[in-house]
């Protein structure tokens, strides 16, 4: 006779409430797993989906994603002259917060030389790539824009000529691809009043130094800041080129840092993504512990509630196994049902597309959580089993 099943049937409401409660916690564990994998996937997406053999960045910098990197635009020409390099392209990336598609949102702009093509968008699901030098853009669907829509950035309007899917930066923000000069303009375009104020201040400094107003005015362009900068140079190598030699040449002669795509991914994983990975991992461990503790407490309480029945069972000659099975079966049932609830809820949430972050569920994570929860469910029942086995049968006697 399956005592555990009969008890569950009798107290179905209590068990369902418990399963929903613990299931929600496990649901959060799954979502944390999904966020973790999603962040990793997002974080390295742009690296994996940029057609380059080498990332050339500012010296002693871990750029362009993990750390800011600034290079003069023409650096790509110097890199192109390195033996073994077939093709190079300038690349700029930066995150902005602007009003697009009727709402103020954060997104990352990628600027690249549209005629060279390196660094351009992949996974275009609608429309085409940028073909004009100005005022065309390819946006990710997540940005909420439609094909053919014109969006206003800085002082110009840009037409959306292509849409990508799941093209996001390390924070999950959608990417917007522009031509390099457009991207630079959006980044460095300053307010007119600010330009006037800075120019006036520069002229005053020059006049204080003894120059006439005319001379100061003529010299003004020399003091304006250089906005023709890029974040990195993308380099494609010639077939059979020795990658070690090429990167050594670039590092030694051009005084730049060079990373392979794999190294760039490692930079992301050990840099920007490391802390968030540890934080998410920490929360996942905490949630699993909390879930197991809650199961332990619930199993303990429902065991204590029937302690007199357990004493009666012992008195009428039930073996310890009958009692252990009763408790263990309920504990494992709660654990498995909660796991099922959490699994289903998290996958439904992911399928609904309403979760603000990209969620990725892997078989490995699911299996790991399952094993941990199953072992946890067994461990959770130990306290209750210990109390039950220590219960004297004599407790059944008396009023």
């Amino acid at each position: 006779m399956d005592l555990a099943a009969k008890d569950v049937r009798r107290h179905l409401g209590k068990f369902i409430a418990t399963i929903i409660g613990v299931g929600m916690l496990i649901n959060i564990v799954f979502i944390m797993n999904g966020i973790y994998r999603g962040i990793i996937d997002d974080g390295i997406w742009i690296i994996e989906n940029t057609d380059t053999d080498l990332w050339v960045v500012e010296r002693d910098r871990g750029g362009p994603f993990n750390e800011q990197s600034q290079l003069p635009r023409d650096t790509y020409k110097s890199v192109a002259a390195t033996p073994g390099v077939a093709k190079t392209g300038p690349f700029i990336t930066y995150t902005v917060q602007r009003g697009v598609a009727g709402r103020n949102q954060q997104f990352t702009i990628i600027g690249y030389d549209v005629f060279i093509g390196l660094g351009g968008p992949k996974r275009i699901v609608a429309g085409r790539n940028i073909t004009a030098g100005h005022y065309e853009a390819v946006a990710d669907q997540k940005l909420g824009v439609r094909l053919g829509e014109r969006i206003h950035l800085g002082v110009h309007d840009y037409t959306i000529v292509g849409l990508t899917r799941q093209a996001v930066d390390t924070n999950g923000n959608p990417l917007l691809y522009l031509s390099l000069s457009d991207a630079q303009e959006v980044l460095f375009q300053r307010d007119n009043q600010a330009i006037y104020a800075q120019d006036a201040a520069t002229i005053k400094k020059l006049q204080d130094a003894g120059y006439t107003a005319t001379q100061a005015g003529q010299m003004l362009p020399l003091f304006s800041s250089n906005t023709n900068i890029i974040s990195a140079v993308l380099a494609k190598l010639t077939p059979g080129a020795d990658i070690k030699k090429v990167r050594s040449n670039i590092q030694d002669w051009l005084y730049l840092n060079v990373y392979s795509p794999e190294e760039e991914i490692q930079l992301m994983l050990s840099g920007r993504l490391k802390k968030i990975s540890i934080t998410l991992g920490f929360f996942r461990i905490l949630l699993v512990i909390v879930s197991i503790v809650i199961i332990a407490l619930i199993v303990y309480v429902i065991t204590i509630e029937k302690i007199r029945s357990i004493a009666t069972l012992k008195l009428i000659g039930a073996s310890n196994w009958v009692i252990i099975r009763l408790i263990l079966e309920q504990s494992v049932s709660i654990t498995l049902a909660s796991f099922g609830f959490g699994y289903g809820a998290s996958h439904l949430l992911e399928a609904s597309g309403q979760f603000p972050r990209h969620l990725i569920f892997t078989t490995f994570d699911t299996t790991l959580v399952f094993i941990i929860m199953l072992v946890g469910g067994v461990v959770a029942s130990l306290l209750a089993i210990w109390v039950a086995l220590r219960t004297p049968p004599s407790l059944a006697l008396g009023g």
Binding site: R10, S309, T312, G317, S394, L397
Partner: protein, 228 residues
Amino acid sequence: MDVLIVKGLKKVFGEGELAVTALADIDFSVKKGELMALLGPSGSGKTTLLLCISLILEPTTGYIVINGHEIYKDGWTDVDMRRFRRENIGFIFQSHNLIPFLTATDNVALVMTLNGVSDREARRRSHELLDYLEIGHRADALPALLSGGEQQRVAIARALANEPVLILADEPTAALDTDRGRKVMALLKKIAGERNSAVITVTHDHRMIEGFDTVCELSDGRFVKKPL
């Protein structure tokens, strides 16, 4: 034939100056089909005696023989004692102690399944027992939906489930009114007569022992009225 023989039974709790003698000089025997009442005020040692007979509390000295087997013999493990209890003794409790999440049938069948009887056979025999105790119409009811008298009948059916040679009833009428209490006692007499089980009933209510074969009374752990 004697189903139960208790000889020179003594139970002492604690040691030295703190020692408390709960039972002393207990000698009696009970035959098949005999109905014995054990009377005594609270603290007189009734429950201690019941625990000793139930293989739960080992006496300090003396011995107990049930159905020809001396219990608490060296080498008897906890498993042996539970099996012996399951096969030879039926229990009826003051507060019925039915498993609240099992129906009347399941409560009775459970004891049989613990003894290795199949679920189907156990349920069939449970229905027979419940019918015998005139509670068959409530076979599928949970204990919470039964009256006190009905619960006690189910508890009696459970005690009879494995056809024990000895039934121990711990104040079976304490939770019932006088009328229902008398009916339960009548039922116990019927069981002793028809099923040939020896029944020892602990009670402190003298009104309930009318017609019992043997009446003995405990006070401060000793028989003040010894069984004849």
